[in-house]
């Protein structure tokens, strides 16, 4: 059987892993530089695409053409996401059903952007094995609905990957723990990632991983933590520096580049505060440097409402599993956001036991995906995952009321059959509207698809017997069939996914993906080198404006010469030259950086020297 890799397609980072045949253990594949995480970021530049770390580095400088957190848009319609779009610096358009992004002078759908990330991981795996990789297990949040799962499968197809299985992230994590014999009995997997939250409760026994219940929120994660922190910092900057801002007519909130820098600074501070009680945030802005100390307590107060939002789904999952918190044997933490100490405390309080995270929370989902891939490849025979469908599935009936065929938390694969009838005499066409969700009225649930059943013999209302069959496969993806039973007549069904791409759309995108291929290796490296040069140039220009007067004329002229040399090199295509000039400029500005830091600290903190209060980088 062909090799199958496991992929964690995350909101913030993505990874690819496989099970090592010799050790039987899952391993994350690193890139040539030894990096295991691939930032799920795609940059559209005139020279081509950049992915991952290179794209992350251009976030602040090309905000309109650098797409991050696209997972939040997968399988979504305009109404689902319009409220959070103002936080994205790139342009999102209301497409037909699915949203589209206008970046780099073209329009792309979220699956196409995810496909670029998947293709980078595919190439990473191919470089590792020295052979083509065509099959993958890809993980999704357990609480993803059918449209979001379909969108993920579509992304795989566009990337040239056959997604042989969609696996839920928390259950994948449980497989990784199970392989290490760490999770046994009844376990709760609390998975808080960059953009999504899941809670899954499983019984692990005799190699069977039986999911008892799952719940979550597909719009809650580290991104939201960063956002509240960013808004708080923005307010603080405006309050402290309003005089300067007014004088220079600076509108921070509408400056995409500054907002990106602020977002990255907020994220970095959040991460530091997981290990430390306090941290300092220094952000050079036009004309002045914002500098302040932040304590963990302050940030926790901001995060508290978001963390509290994860507890409701936990209680619901427990209730659906018919369990009380003390019946949970182990609590496992997954996802980078579970490093936040407040999250750990709240989880511990809810379940009454210390959660554990022996396996790296950033990697455990990919490791689990690799285990599932190995099960499918026939390499592991004693483990079996029995997952559930997270949301109820039903049909809209008269009056807009939902009739549920498959309740949430039903073990998959599963099928259900129900009889329906007509409401009008002589009706020959019947509308079937498939919805997903827990609300009583169809309009309040997610619309998955509309079908028309044609060719029903005219009969009085209530006479036809229309048999509707739902089948959910092991990926959690639904197929629907309908037929009129009384006449036994074959009836045609037309499928129109509400928030999905048609097969023709996907075919076209596969074609397009070759046209808009990633920049070739040389170009990519050149773009990266230029990006680095640009970053240094931006910082130096800003520093010179602020701290320039503190320098001796000679030194200042030296820096200006180095800037000019780098600018000239940057226009050319000689990577080595750009890199050398960048290094030169860095050397020339060493003293400038110190001077600036001292100036900033004196302004903000009196007479303490930089090395007295700065934390280690």
């Amino acid at each position: 059987m062909a090799r199958i890799v496991g992929i964690d397609l995350g909101t913030t980072n993505s990874l690819v892993a496989y099970v090592d045949e010799r050790t039987g253990l899952p391993v994350v594949i690193a890139d040539a530089d030894g990096r295991r995480l691939l930032p799920s970021i795609v940059g559209f530049t005139p020279e081509g695409l950049v992915v991952g770390e290179a794209a992350r580095r251009q976030l602040a400088r090309r905000p309109a053409d650098t797409v991050y957190s696209v997972k939040r848009l997968m399988g979504r319609g305009w109404d689902d996401v319009k409220d959070e779009l103002r936080y994205f610096p790139f342009k999102v358009l209301a497409g037909e059903g699915v949203v589209k992004l206008a970046v780099g002078g073209r329009e792309v759908t979220p699956p196409e952007v995810s496909a670029i990330v998947l293709r980078a991981l595919k190439e990473r795996a191919e470089a590792h094995f020295g052979e083509p990789i065509e099959k993958a297990v890809v993980t999704v949040p357990a609480y993803f609905n059918d449209s979001q799962r379909q969108a993920t499968k579509d992304a795989g197809r566009i990337a040239g990957l056959d997604v042989v299985r969609i696996v839920n992230e928390p259950t994948a994590a449980s497989l990784a723990y199970g392989l290490h014999r760490l999770g046994q009995g009844v376990i709760a997997v609390y998975d808080l990632g960059g953009g999504t939250f899941d809670i899954s409760i499983l019984r692990v026994k005799d190699g069977i991983f039986e999911v008892l219940a799952t719940n979550g929120d597909t719009h809650l994660g580290g991104d939201d933590f960063d956002r509240v922190l960013l808004l708080w910092l923005l307010e603080d900057i405006q309050a402290r520096h309003h005089a300067q801002l007014d004088r220079d007519c600076i509108d921070l909130a509408n400056d995409n580049e500054v907002m990106q820098e602020l977002r990255l600074a907020a994220e970095a501070a959040k991460i530091r505060l997981s290990a430390e009680e306090r941290t300092t945030l220094t952000l050079p802005l036009a004309g002045f440097t914002y500098h302040r100390m932040i304590t963990r307590t302050e940030v926790e107060r901001l995060l508290e409402p978001l963390v509290a939002r994860t507890l409701g789904p936990c209680r619901k999952a427990l209730a659906d599993a018919g369990l009380t918190p003390n019946e949970i044997d182990q609590v496992v933490l997954v996802g980078g956001s579970t490093r936040v100490p407040l999250v750990r405390r709240r989880v511990q309080e809810l379940f009454g036991k210390a959660p554990h995270s022996q396996l790296n929370p950033d990697e455990v989902v990919a490791l689990g995906a690799a285990v599932q891939a190995q099960i499918l490849a026939g390499g592991i025979k004693d483990m079996l995952l029995l997952d559930v469908t997270p949301l109820s599935l039903g049909i809209e009936t008269l009056g807009g009321i939902v009739s549920i065929l498959i309740p949430r938390n039903t073990t998959i694969p599963t099928s259900a059959r129900e009889m329906f009838t007509t409401s009008v005499d002589g009706q020959t066409v019947v509308d079937l509207h498939v919805v997903q969700g827990e609300r009583e009225l169809a309009k309040d649930n997610r619309s998955l698809a509309r079908f028309e059943l044609r060719g029903v013999d005219p009969m009085p209302a209530g006479m036809p017997k229309i048999e509707v069959t739902f089948l959910i496969d092991a990926n959690g993806i639904l197929q629907v069939q309908a037929k009129e039973q009384r006449t036994g007549k074959a009836a045609s069904i037309e499928v129109k996914p509400t928030y999905g791409l048609s097969d023709a759309d996907v075919e076209r995108m596969v074609e397009d993906s070759f046209t808009y291929a990633e920049a070739d290796v040389e170009t990519r490296l050149l773009i990266e080198t230029r990006n680095e040069a640009d970053t240094v140039l931006t910082h130096v220009a800003r520093a010179l404006r602020q701290a320039g007067p503190l320098l001796a004329t000679e030194e200042r002229q030296g820096i200006e010469a180095a800037v000019a040399a780098l600018r000239a090199a940057r226009e050319g295509a000689d990577r080595d030259a750009i890199r050398e000039r960048t290094t030169d400029l860095n050397h020339a500005t060493e003293h400038l950086a110190e001077a600036m830091m001292d100036a900033a600290l004196k302004g903000a903190l009196g007479t303490k020297r930089a090395d007295e209060i700065m934390e280690k980088p």
């Binding site: 079996l384 029995l386 009321i401 409401s423 009706q427 079937l432 609300r439 209530g462």
Partner: protein, 204 residues
């Protein structure tokens, strides 16, 4: 096609050993789950999917004693859930599928509660109304629990013990108790929705 009891090699009885059922479920899952048939022919894969879906549906129906009774009633011809409903798409004079009707024995005492519910829906709740509704909900919850205990306890045992000619009567007793429970469930949900000021969730 074999029924759910037969899938697990069980006699058609309501008393089931839960641990043995789980054990058998795991065995059947290992036999049929699509994970273990990925390299089989398309026909064999389709068969595995179908069988696996059926095993899961059967386990779901049998592992919970109440769901088991509902399944038994469906199996023996008397639908408890009725038809799925009437499909929309055209204007109709027919009534929308209605919520479970009150069993005759409960009609009188439910009248008062329904009235309180209507009032709650009309406007915000004051403390007195809230206290009354809470008390009513607790009373009904206790009653629902008692009905459930009766279904999975004595009534199920009675059906298992009944000789074939007496089975329809035992089954009818189960049906009536289930109808009472379904009705209580609806009212408890409505009370909960009114008290918590949320919209009603869909029913299974």
């Amino acid at each position: 096609m074999s029924d759910f009891f037969e899938i697990f090699g069980l006699e058609r009885r309501l008393a089931i050993d839960g641990a043995a059922l789980q054990q058998r479920f795991y065995e059947l899952s290992r036999q049929w789950h699509p994970d273990f048939h990925g390299s089989a022919s398309p026909d064999a894969q389709a068969r595995a999917l179908e069988e696996s879906a059926r095993v899961n549906a059967a386990y779901r129906a049998l592992r919970d004693p109440l769901a088991r009774v509902e399944y038994l009633i469906r199996l023996t011809g008397g639908e408890t859930r009725g038809e799925g409903g009437t499909l929309p798409g055209f204007p109709s004079n027919k009534d929308a599928p209605s919520k479970p009707k009150a069993p005759p024995a409960l009609l009188a005492e439910m009248f008062e509660i329904q009235e309180a519910l209507e009032e709650a829906k009309a406007g915000p709740l004051d403390d007195a109304a809230r206290a009354t509704l809470t008390e009513q909900r607790e009373g009904l919850e206790a009653r629902m629990a008692e009905t459930e205990a009766r279904i999975i306890g004595p009534l199920s045992q009675a059906w298992d013990a009944a000789p074939p000619p007496e089975r329809p009567a035992a089954l009818n007793a189960l049906k009536e108790a289930l109808a009472t429970r379904a009705y209580l469930r609806t009212v408890v949900d409505d009370l909960g929705a009114a008290l918590e000021g949320r919209e009603q969730e869909a029913r299974h």
